[in-house]
Subunit: 254 residues, 3 copies
Amino acid sequence: MKLSEIKTLQGLIVVGEDREITNVNTIANADENSLIFFNGKGELKTKAKAIIISNRECIFDNDLTTIISPDPKLTMAKVILECFYNNVVSFLNTIRSEIYLSKIFDNVKIGVEGVIVGVNCTIGTQGFGYVWDKDHWLRFPHIGSVVLEKNVEIGNNTCIDRGSIGNTIIRKGVKIDNLVHIAHNADIGEHSLIVAGAVIGGSVKIGKKCFIGMNASIKNGIIIGDNVTVGAGAVVLKDIPSGETWAGVPAKKL
Amino acid sequence: MKLSEIKTLQGLIVVGEDREITNVNTIANADENSLIFFNGKGELKTKAKAIIISNRECIFDNDLTTIISPDPKLTMAKVILECFYNNVVSFLNTIRSEIYLSKIFDNVKIGVEGVIVGVNCTIGTQGFGYVWDKDHWLRFPHIGSVVLEKNVEIGNNTCIDRGSIGNTIIRKGVKIDNLVHIAHNADIGEHSLIVAGAVIGGSVKIGKKCFIGMNASIKNGIIIGDNVTVGAGAVVLKDIPSGETWAGVPAKKL
Amino acid sequence: MKLSEIKTLQGLIVVGEDREITNVNTIANADENSLIFFNGKGELKTKAKAIIISNRECIFDNDLTTIISPDPKLTMAKVILECFYNNVVSFLNTIRSEIYLSKIFDNVKIGVEGVIVGVNCTIGTQGFGYVWDKDHWLRFPHIGSVVLEKNVEIGNNTCIDRGSIGNTIIRKGVKIDNLVHIAHNADIGEHSLIVAGAVIGGSVKIGKKCFIGMNASIKNGIIIGDNVTVGAGAVVLKDIPSGETWAGVPAKKL
């Protein structure tokens, strides 16, 4: 569809060409027909040609159509609900995987070999992402998947939310204990271990062979390197470089 | 029934009139036919005319029948088990609510509009309240309800216990993440957000539009104002006034 | 079988007699036909006559057959997988117990009287014990049981893992709240209370009538005496003597 055909965008200031849009995407994964939004954080390197952006962050670029919104995330949520919400591919692959009495939604992509999911898990549900809309919280629609690569093992009563735009990824050989929460768009590196009660926030990136201790909390958006140890009950509010051990509330390097 | 007909009370000192009792209740919600108990905390403003109270706290009032017990909470538990335990109204209203694979007991009252409950939740079970009785823990009987008002959304693998005497209340527009525990008689104010892994203790009162971070713990009986932010992993042991941000173990004002 | 018949042990240095082995066991519970392993911690008092041990810890005793391994735990894991993994007795005793909608595996032994298990619990699954094997995590096989003694009450969405070698034991009158994790080989003493969100690590030993607060974390192998109180959100990294109250991250005596 054309940008001008999206009702949610009507009434907003649009600077630039009326482009053809085929998908919504993350800044990094966008193609030339993606619509993206910018929340003021991170680098704006993208192939997208259409962006929802706030007044303050506003950039003008002849090659980029700019839609100015007082709340870009809220506008994006409404665009997805209007145009892209039913556009989710379903594929559940249980070949060579052992799955017990858990509810796994069909947006979850399971690696073909050696995946084990225990009992009472919930995998592939909407994440906990809300945007304030005048007088109530609007849930940001989650249209991404959960990817479980090969040899991932998940304990019991653990929850993994699907990505909002983009996927939640549990990489090869990761082992997750009981009662763990992995939020939308988290990316857990190969062979990392996550112990019971840990909560991994949205878009957290954890490197390879890390150890996340019991009841640890990792704040949304944190980036953790390889071979990092996070102590029991630690609250991680800052990025952690590779090879370090952090503990405490807030967590500090030991 | 008359107070004198309740076997549990026989053998205790009773000062005052032998009154007609039709219900057990909280101090605040009692009517003239309620039996209440006082555990030494909070204000004793009540319409009740019959009270179980300890020797130390003992007050004499011509208008109030006073039953003196070495352990008022234990005595009340036994009165409920003897006289009021099957006296629970059942009503489960799922009109216009989406409920997935969760166990919701029929003491739960669900607002008619927009309530969503995810997968593997447990709502409406007995709370974790025990009273020591000579050589074992006696579970305080929970005869209250859970009330989910309209537009409440609850994630997955989350537990909400029914009230003991009185209800557990989740008010309009509250959003609760995965793996959260809400104990008996908690009262969560409109549009508050509670993130994964948080534990809300018994009788905690949280105001409007608060944010309770991941893995935070709120001790039994704490009162939190409106627009309060509680950080990830915080342990809240004191009341928090409106508008403040608290974090740490124990939590302090930032 | 004879030690020499176990393929996993072929290629390792074996000092002493080629003994008949009928079981694998813990150091303390072993009999004369047990194979045990030593991980360098604790006292080596045992009736076993065959031990897997590392080069560094190596002891020579004419009466004890010593198998030297660079990683005794990994070697033991492989011996169990080769010889003892299907050797698990099944017995589920639900007489006079109330069990709701929980998955209880048939390695769980339930005391005959007054056991209550709530909704969405997972009891008797493999523990979270992994040994690094060249390029991946190998799950240490868990062949022990979970023992629930009489009058144990367990809330909802709680997980209790079976023992690896030896059992996980929940003793008489223990009460466990919602969303609690009890790891493999933990031993919870009579009449102790464990509040929501607490994580009890592997082989933790908790004494009688203790109180473990909400979201507390007890590190693997910790020993806690009788009548101990552990505060909400506490992270216990040291043993706690009887009668003390500990809180904080890391937990200290109050």
